[in-house]
Symmetry: C2
Subunit: 267 residues, 2 copies
């Protein structure tokens, strides 16, 4: 059913303010499919009432230039009132995955993500859809939803693209002022330290957590640590004793800006 006259469709859903992370998804989609579709939609349903929906960066002019340069075939710019029509009342819950990690600090966020992704997948009917590893929890939830609801699309997760100092690319990095931007790579360094420690034989999560908290506390500009620990990469449960494939993940606040990052480790 996912063929347009036998041609494969690669789909890259985004919220715009496109950076090299998004563009790596576009390149991959183009490489693997006959037709490439991107969407830009800042989805109100995934922002909490106190979150940054209104100030979320929007740059449709430059986004369009970038997408044209990458020669995508179709750009979808859904209208907010058409996506959420009068009387809209259907939401998709993927629990308990949605309540862990970021979900603890952003109640309702992944319900909004799952719902809009299902809508976009139904509109586009792609063969494959592309997501960045930076939003690891999102990819786990979407893969679970696609399987559970028989959405019949391959979810392709692509590596996190980083700035030269290791900061994971994110549209929200533009919120950081000069000093904050300089401090932000501490998140990536913290993940690396944890990864090195695990590989050197420390398999007790409590020790890794201590090490991560200490690394993040190096920078006074980190005003809050939402979480920083080691998780099962499928259930997203915090694990006690590290073995096999695990995920090191952390979320911090620098001023009002929330940054997340993660690193898979395979022992």
């Amino acid at each position: 059913m996912h063929l347009m006259k036998g041609r494969t469709i690669g789909f890259v859903p985004t919220m715009g303010a496109l950076h090299e992370g998004h563009l790596s998804l576009i390149k991959r989609a183009k490489m693997e499919n006959d037709i490439t579709v991107a969407s830009i939609f800042v989805n109100p349903a995934q922002f909490g009432p106190t979150e940054d929906l209104e100030k979320y960066p929007r740059d449709i002019e430059n986004d369009t230039i970038k997408l044209r340069r990458h020669e995508i075939d179709i750009l979808l710019l859904p209208d907010r009132n058409l996506m959420y029509t009068n009387g809209f009342s259907t939401y998709i819950n993927v629990d308990p995955l949605s309540e862990k990690l970021c979900g603890m600090f952003r109640p309702g966020h992944f319900k909004g993500v799952a719902t809009v992704v299902a809508k976009l997948l139904n509109i586009v009917s792609p063969t494959r859809a592309y997501f960045g590893q930076k939003d690891f929890q999102q990819t786990v939830i979407i893969k679970r939803m696609v399987k559970d609801l028989n959405l019949g699309v391959d979810i392709v997760v692509c590596p996190t693209i980083r700035e030269h100092d290791g900061l994971a690319m994110s549209s929200r990095n533009s919120y950081l002022d000069g000093e904050q931007r300089k401090a932000a790579p501490v998140l990536y360094r913290c993940l690396n330290k944890a990864s090195d420690a695990i590989k050197s034989g420390i398999i007790n999560t409590e020790q890794i957590k201590e090490l991560m908290t200490k690394a993040l506390s190096d920078k006074a500009l980190i005003t809050q640590i939402d979480y920083a620990s080691v998780y099962h990469p499928e259930t997203l449960e915090e694990i006690k004793e590290i073995k096999g494939e695990v995920l090191i993940a952390a979320a911090v606040r620098i001023g009002d800006t929330r940054l997340i990052d993660n690193m898979p480790v395979n022992l």
Copy 2:
């Protein structure tokens, strides 16, 4: 996307124990589409813990004979463990529609219905899907879900098929013993009385409710009235003053058996 080499697909999802109501859906689907698909799946997710999942009538042998006689093209018999795989955790909520009428007495029921219908629609990718008017609330919820999630299928609602004495056909009618079966048409008569009263000029819902309760109380075998009133046909809110299109609906228990029925009225 909903064409198989340009051919239309009509889909009739059922829980089996097929009666003339189901077969009327099959006939309509055959008439309107190139390919007709039926499914039989007693969906555990839509039964509450104290409900009749285990005793729900199953008659796959006769069902198959009936479907063969009606010359459907494909019969889908999903396996419970494939529909709800290990770790299944995605559910679709259509609120507040799911909490009204039957939803008040069957918490979680419509979440299970919406979820399985979305799964089946994704598996079959039909052009049109057919449902009986008897389960009116179900049709309202499914239409809302299809619109909200961009499922891209036409939902066709077909008239309730009745026994000669007016009892709406239902697989659950087989639970009734001889005396109960004789009493059951009181539900249909009650809807008719309410409809006649509305058409004769009684537009106050309280008066109609009184009349319905009295009609149902005629039969001592009616052990409980879950609801019996007049509703808005889209929001399913109980209405105060009757005008335009309304829905008269009721649910009662005869012994352990729960029966529902409804009747639209257009003033």
